[in-house]
Structure formats: C-alpha cells, structure tokens
C-alpha cells in the first residue's frame, strides 16, 4: 500500500454530518443529485434501493445509516456519488448518499495516518487512513471493503412486516 511515499493521489472529499470523508477519485463515476429510489425487498436498511444510472441498475447505500450516524432528510443538496469498484465477481457500481461534496485534494501517501483502534463502540474497518487537510481531519474510505462486506454478501435475517 505504501507505493512510494511521495506519490500523490487525488481524493474527493464529502461531508457526512460534522465529519469529512474522502474517496479515491479514480473510483468516482459521477456525482448526481438525489432522486427517489426503487426499494428492494429483503435488504439491510442502509441499502435504500436501486436507481437507473444510464441503463444499469445500481444499488444506493445511505452512508449515514451505514456508519450509524443520525439520519438526515434528503433535500435538494443531498448528492449521490456513484462509485465503480472491482470485486471478486467483477466490476460493480454503487451509489452512496452523502450530505454534500466539498473538494478535490491531492494527498501524499506519507500524509496518511492509520486510524487508531477505538474499541468496539466505533467501527474503523472501512477507514483506510486519516489525514489532515487545513484544520479538518479527513477519513479516507476503503471502498473495496465497504462493497465487499456490505452490498454483495450480507443478508439481513428476514423479518415479517406487520401488515
């Protein structure tokens, strides 16, 4: 992972509540405004449903719910970042719902600090590393892990809704 300490890469940062996260910009396919999704039965609650993205059916994940943050109302400024990730079963696209995108920054590998272990109350498994931009801390997301352990495999135990 430390391929040349001075190599830089570009990261798209976005806001979730009070926090700033980042993703490798090479994974980003497009950024689009929020639109109503089609719900899918038998999915974990943070998988909101699917959207039509230029003809392919793409699942949409609410990152706030994924990270157990307080749920926000979807407004006109809510955006969906569409990411394309290579997985064991081929290329997969997914959309993540965030409060808003903020910036594109260059980071060096040396600037990336490992996330400290915060015990069981805070999950850091999707955090690739931490970095400081200006006065803010940015958490770089490990999208591969997010997709691998989240969208593809996990099935929530079926739960009969009371009709």
């Amino acid at each position: 992972m430390m391929e040349g300490a001075n190599r830089t890469k570009q990261v798209l940062t976005f806001i979730l509540g009070m926090e700033t996260y980042g993703v490798d910009i090479l994974l980003v396919q497009e950024i689009r405004g929020w639109s109503q999704v089609t719900r899918i039965p038998q999915t974990p609650p943070h998988v909101l449903g699917v959207l039509n993205l230029r003809g392919s059916i793409v699942p949409i994940v609410d990152l706030r719910m994924r990270f157990r943050l307080e749920r926000a109302e979807y407004t006109a400024v809510t955006v969906i970042i569409v990411l394309s990730v290579e997985t064991s079963s081929g290329r997969r696209d997914l959309g993540v719902v965030v409060d808003g995108v903020s910036d594109v920054i260059d980071i060096k590998a040396v600037d990336l600090k490992p996330a400290p272990d915060l015990g069981s109350q805070v999950s850091t498994e999707f955090i690739q590393g931490l970095m400081t931009v200006g006065e803010n801390m940015v958490m770089l997301l490990d999208i591969d892990r997010l997709v691998g352990g989240d969208i593809g495999d996990v099935v929530m135990p079926p739960k009969v809704a009371n009709g």
């Binding site: 089609t38 719900r39 699917v50 039509n52 003809g55 699942p59 696209d93 997914l94 969208i151 009709g163």
Partner: protein, 704 residues
C-alpha cells in the same frame, strides 16, 4: 517450442464439435449400399481435419483414433468398401466417441480408455475384413493404420504391387508457420509413418539469437522419403501447412515408372485458392475431386485447423454473444431515453412543438427497428435443436423394436439463442416419451389398422409474439382411465371426484407421475414431464397436451421469442410499481369480504374455480406500506408457478407493457422473489416478480 498453442484450443474444439455434427448428419443421410460420393467426402474431410488438428495440439489419443477412422473412411471413399448398416452404426459410434474424447480433453477429465480401444479395434477389424474380401482393389493404401500390431497387416498386399519409390521433399516453412498452429515435428512424424525418412535440417535461415523472434520458424528441411505412396499422399500431409511454406516434391527416378508420369517437380507457393487448385490438378491423378474441394475451403482460411464445413460457408462471421448483449443494452437505453423524450415532447407547446413531435415519432420508429434488428442477430433457427433428433430417433427405435418415421417441419423458425439452448432437453424428453409410451410396436399398430411405422412430428412456427413447438405422434394416446386410477391411487384426486379431461391430462405433469407399466431405460421413472413443464415455465412459456385415445397425442410448447423482453402487467403496491409476467397470470379479480376464509386464524384462502387458493399479500412479503389492507379494496391476481396457484394481493393494476429485463445481480445480488428489474418510461426502476420464487418464499415465511 515456446509458442503457446493453448490460445488456439478453444477455436479448435468449437470447430471440431461443429464438424462432428456435420459428420453425424452426413452419416445419417448416407444411403446404405449406395453412398453418395459427396457425403462420403464430407465425412472423410471431417475425420481428416480433426486428426490433423488434434495431432498438432498433441491430443494423441484423439489423433490415433481418428487416424484409424480416417483409414477406414479412405477405403470407403475409394469404393473399396461397402456401406452397410453395421458399418454406418460403427461410424456413428465413432462420432460419439470422438465427441466424448474431445470433450474430456477440453475439460481435462479422464475418459474410459477401454471404450475407445474397443471401438478402435472394431474399426481396424472392419478394415481388415475388407482386405480379405475379394473386391479389394489394389489401390494406394494411403497411410498406415494406427500402430497396433494386427493393424499393420492390411497394408501389406498393396505394398507389393506399387513398389517403393523415393521422393525428394523440400520443406521450407515461412516464418509464420508456427503461429498458424503447425508443428513441423508433427509433419515429419507423419511422413515417417509413410515409410523410411531421411531428414536433413537447413539452418541457413537462422538469425543471431538477439534477432530471433520466438514465434517465428527459421528452419527448413530437405527430406528423402522412401515409400510406396503417391505424390498427393505426401502433399496431404502438408495440407494444413499450405500457404505457410514452400513445398517441393520431386521423385527420384529409379526403375519403376508410374502409370501416368507426373511432372517432375511441383513448386507450391500456395495461398491463393486458384493457384492452389491449379497445382492440385497437375499433381493429382487418383483423388482429384476431394483434394480440389479441400483446397477451396482452405484457401478461405489458410492453414488454421478449421474443419471443412462441407461447403456450407454462408458468408457469416462469428461474434461473441457478449458483444451482442452490449449492443442490446445500449439499444435498451435508447428505447428508454426515446420514451422519456416522447413524454416530454407531448407536453411541449409552441410553433416548433409539432416539428419536434414528428421528429420524435420518426425516432421511435427507427429505434424499434433497431431493437428488432439486434434481437434478430441473437436468433438462431430451431434446426440447431432439431438436428439431434434424427440420430436419437434412429437409435431409440432400434432399441425398442419400433418403426418410427421422424418428420421435422419449420426448422428454419428462429428464436433467441438462450431460449434455444434451454429448450433442447425438454424436447428430447417429449420425443423420448412419444417413442416409448406413444408409438406402439408394429404388430399392435397393424392390428389397430394403422401403418406399421409410427410418425413423430416436430413442428415449429411463429404465432403472435411467440414461438410454438409441437411434438406430435400418431401413437396410442393417453389412457384417461389409467391416469385417473393412478391419480386416485396416489391420492392426487379424491375417490369420488370426477375431474374433466383437461384436468386429468394435466396430471401427467405432476411430479413423479408415470403410468408406464414397467420402467424402461428410456422413460417411465416418472421423472420427466414435471421437469419439462418447469423448464418451459422458467423460460416464461407454457405447455399443453391434446390427446385422443388410439390416435395419438400432441404436446404444444409456447415460448417467448426472447428472454431479453417480457410482456408484463404493472401493478401498484403503495408507492411501488412491480411487473408481473403475463404468462403467469391466470385471472385478476376483486374479492368480497365474504369470500375469504381463514385457516387456523392465520392463512387466508378463497375459493377459486374448483379449489382453495391461498392469499399472498405482496406488501407483506416485500415489506412495503400499502394503500389499503382490506382485501376487497385492492385487487387479487391469481398467478401460477410450478403448478401452484396463489392469489397475489395488490393495490391496483396499472397497465400492460413490454419491458426490457435488466439484471439486479450485475451490481447487487439476487433477491428472493424478484427475477430482475426494468426501467420505466419515466426513467425510474421497477422490479419484475419471479412468481414461482415468490410463491415458494411466501410459503416459507408463512410456515416460519
């Protein structure tokens, strides 16, 4: 040799299997006692090219077997052997064995060597017996049969007549020879089999190591072959290298002159078909026709191991289905965009709006044509499936001692490749069923005043937006009373119940149902018709049976033309829209509260026609907030899957439309009860219900 031949394996297998199909159908057409030379040539060419290809790739078992087969076929081709029923059976068996061998090599699985050895022995025996027959003509024996001790015998008498000749062979490969899948070592080995061979390699073309390209051939050979063979036998060895080498075959005269003195040297810088044919005409005396034929087919595709297709080169190209699917997807998107634009256009006003609308109408027409065009590309004639039946019927009727005439009509009817691949097995089942249970033995048929030979008729045709395939026989028909008795015995029908005929005949599709008095190895184990029905339903089709006692029965399968599109009914549940495939819907109705009964306080059922049907509330299964919970305020849709019926409770019916099926699994995963998704005219996504899956899933949930 550093060249990676594996990259050519797939192409070889694909072509070899195709060639075997050609060979099989040619064998089936072959007249016993009076074979058409053209067919025999076709069969020979297939064996020859598979031998060449498998030897090149080092599949020695296949090569050795085909070699023996080729020897036998060459005898046939030369008219030195008669085509008998037994021989034709033997050859058909050889096709099976070759297919199995190739498949086992392809999948790297072991093969039963005994079976191959037995058959090879039979082939050798057939060759041997022909040589003992007085009709044996003293013609050239071509190549020696496989290196088994007793197989060497048959060449002996011929040797004495022609005598030894010495051939000087100049073999100068062009650099690309190796890339075309030719192995000079194989060629030398094959020459060696013809007689004693002196080999001299010419390395003058060899560049410095640093300039060497590992995949180029720099060597040349000067060979002297002492053998009894003729020039064209030698030329045949180099068949696959044509166009990739310069070949010079000169006879070193010493004594025995030939009947017709061939020109002393033939230089063969081949590559252009016409030039090659001219060469063959000069060089050949005995086997002009087939050799020239072969030259033509090779001129088109120089020296890759492509089995000759019996002149069926129809100017087509091979395209991977993936590429077609990509185009199909793009076209699907255009359709959606176009319908969005049309919606927008219809709400426009102003002076230009009319122009815009007419432009959009034009676009719609073109898009529809484009979509149909792409869909047609995926279509293949059903003859791809039908072609396996002549052989099957022949074998089965043999085994069961029945006389059966197979009629195939409508075999040019086209349907989607995916549908085609999945309909083969169900059809095989039905045809077997007809032969085993339907058609009676000849004496029974005669006693019933029917022709001794029964007829099985497969017919395919388009009807509406669907394709219909019928399997008809003029056999005994279904025995209504026996089915009913059996069903009562198994408790499928109550003792006093008297269902109508259609319901009774429907029983034969029940799992494990068989009325055969004894189980044969062909059918009768009761596995079958239920599987057939399930397969057909999985394809979104239906199957029906009509039958008349003593006159025969007819199975009618109706299939969608393609799996990429489905006719659907859109339904609303709360704010969601779902698509229900039309083929699964029996009826939609509104219930009165009095019609619904509860079982054990939980399961809701209602009376539909002659049975109780459970209610499945779609909003409950999918966890959606519905518009109403009251059954009489919504609609009940009676749907059927895998023989089970349920009443699907939805809020409302929206409309019927054709939708393009998209996979959820591409970016997400499989979802229980959902077969895919589609994009509606407004760009939003709607899920397509998998009705059988949904019924299963709902039942599990109710049980839990």
């Amino acid at each position: 040799m550093a060249l990676d031949l594996e990259q050519f394996h797939e192409a070889f297998f694909e072509e070899a299997f195709e060639a075997l199909d050609t060979m099989e159908s040619a064998l089936l057409k072959l007249n016993i006692g009076n074979p058409e030379p053209e067919l025999v040539n076709t069969i020979f060419r297939v064996a020859h090219s598979i031998k060449g290809g498998s030897a090149t790739f080092g599949f020695t078992e296949v090569a050795s077997f085909t070699h023996t087969l080729e020897t036998l076929l060459d005898e046939l081709r030369g008219g030195r052997m008669q085509v008998t029923r037994g021989l034709s059976d033997l050859l058909l068996k050889s096709v099976d064995v070759m297919r199995e061998m190739l498949r086992s090599v392809q999948h790297k699985t072991p093969i039963d060597p005994q079976r191959v050895a037995d058959l090879q022995f039979d082939l050798e025996l057939a060759i041997l017996q022909k040589n003992q027959a007085p009709a044996a003509a003293p013609e050239l024996p071509d190549v020696a049969p496989a290196p088994t001790p007793d197989a060497a015998l048959p060449t002996m008498p011929a040797t004495a007549i022609l005598g030894q000749r010495r051939w000087q062979i100049g073999f100068r490969p062009y650099p690309q020879l190796l890339l075309r899948g030719n192995d000079p070592l194989r060629l030398l080995r094959e020459l060696h089999e013809l007689g004693s061979l002196e080999v001299e390699v010419d390395i003058s073309g060899l560049p410095a190591l640093s300039e060497m390209n590992t995949e180029d051939c720099y060597l040349a050979w000067n060979l002297v072959l002492t053998s009894e063979v003729t020039r064209d036998v030698i030329a045949q060895v180099f068949d696959w290298a044509e166009g990739d080498c310069k070949l010079e075959i000169v006879e070193i005269k010493s004594g025995l002159a030939e009947r017709t003195a061939p020109p002393s040297a033939v230089v063969v810088p081949i590559g252009i078909a016409s030039a090659h044919e001219a060469q063959i005409e000069v060089a050949t005396t005995a086997t002009l026709e087939p050799a020239a034929e072969q030259g033509r087919s090779q001129g088109a595709s120089p020296a890759t191991p492509s089995p000759a297709q019996g002149g069926s080169d129809s100017g087509s190209i091979r395209v991977s289905t993936e590429k077609i699917d990509e185009i199909m997807n793009t076209v699907g998107e255009i359709v959606i965009t176009q319908s969005m634009l049309s919606q927008l256009g219809s709400s426009m006003e102003g002076p230009l709006a009319e122009q815009l609308r007419s432009g959009l109408a034009q676009l719609e027409r073109n898009v529809r044509e484009l979509q149909e065009g792409v869909m047609r590309v995926r279509m293949l004639p059903i003859s791809f499936v039908f072609s396996r039946f002549p052989r099957m019927v022949r074998d089965l009727s043999h085994r069961l001692g029945k006389e059966i005439e197979l009629k195939l009509t409508g075999d040019t009817t086209e349907l989607d490749k995916t549908v085609l691949e999945k309909i083969g097995d169900p059809l095989v089942h039905l045809v077997r069923n007809s032969i085993d249970h339907g058609i009676e033995k000849p004496d029974i048929r005669r006693a019933a005043g029917k022709a001794a030979a029964g007829t099985v008729h497969l017919d395919a045709y388009h009807k509406g937006g669907n394709i219909t395939v019928e399997v008809r026989d003029d056999g005994a028909g279904l025995d209504r009373d026996r089915i009913l008795a059996k069903a009562r015995e198994r408790g499928l029908v109550g003792a006093t119940e008297v269902p109508d005929d259609t319901a009774i005949y429907d029983l034969i599709f029940a799992a494990g149902f068989s009325t055969a008095e004894k189980t044969t190895d062909v059918s009768g184990r009761g596995v079958g018709l239920d599987v057939v029905r399930r397969n057909v339903q999985e394809l979104g089709g239906t199957i029906e049976i009509r039958t008349e006692r003593g006159k025969g029965s007819c199975f009618t399968i109706t299939l969608p033309l393609t799996l990429a599109i489905v006719d659907g009914q859109s339904v609303a549940v709360g704010s969601e829209t779902y698509i229900v495939p039309l083929t699964t819907i029996i009826e939609s109705m509104q219930l009165k509260p009095s019609m619904v009964n509860r079982i054990a306080g939980r399961g809701e059922v209602f009376l539909f026609r002659d049975g109780y049907v459970p209610v499945v509330r779609l909003h409950q299964v999918f966890g959606v907030k519905p518009r109403t919970h009251e059954l009489h305020e919504g609609l009940l849709m009676i749907v059927e899957g895998e023989g089970r019926r349920v009443g699907l409770f939805v809020d409302d019916l929206l409309g019927q439309q054709q939708v393009v099926i998209k996979s959820l699994e591409t970016n997400y995963r499989r979802v229980e009860g959902v077969s895919g998704a589609t994009i509606l005219g407004d760009g939003s996504v709607a899920l397509i219900l998998d009705v059988p899956g949904l019924i299963r899933f709902a039942a599990e949930r109710l049980a839990a």
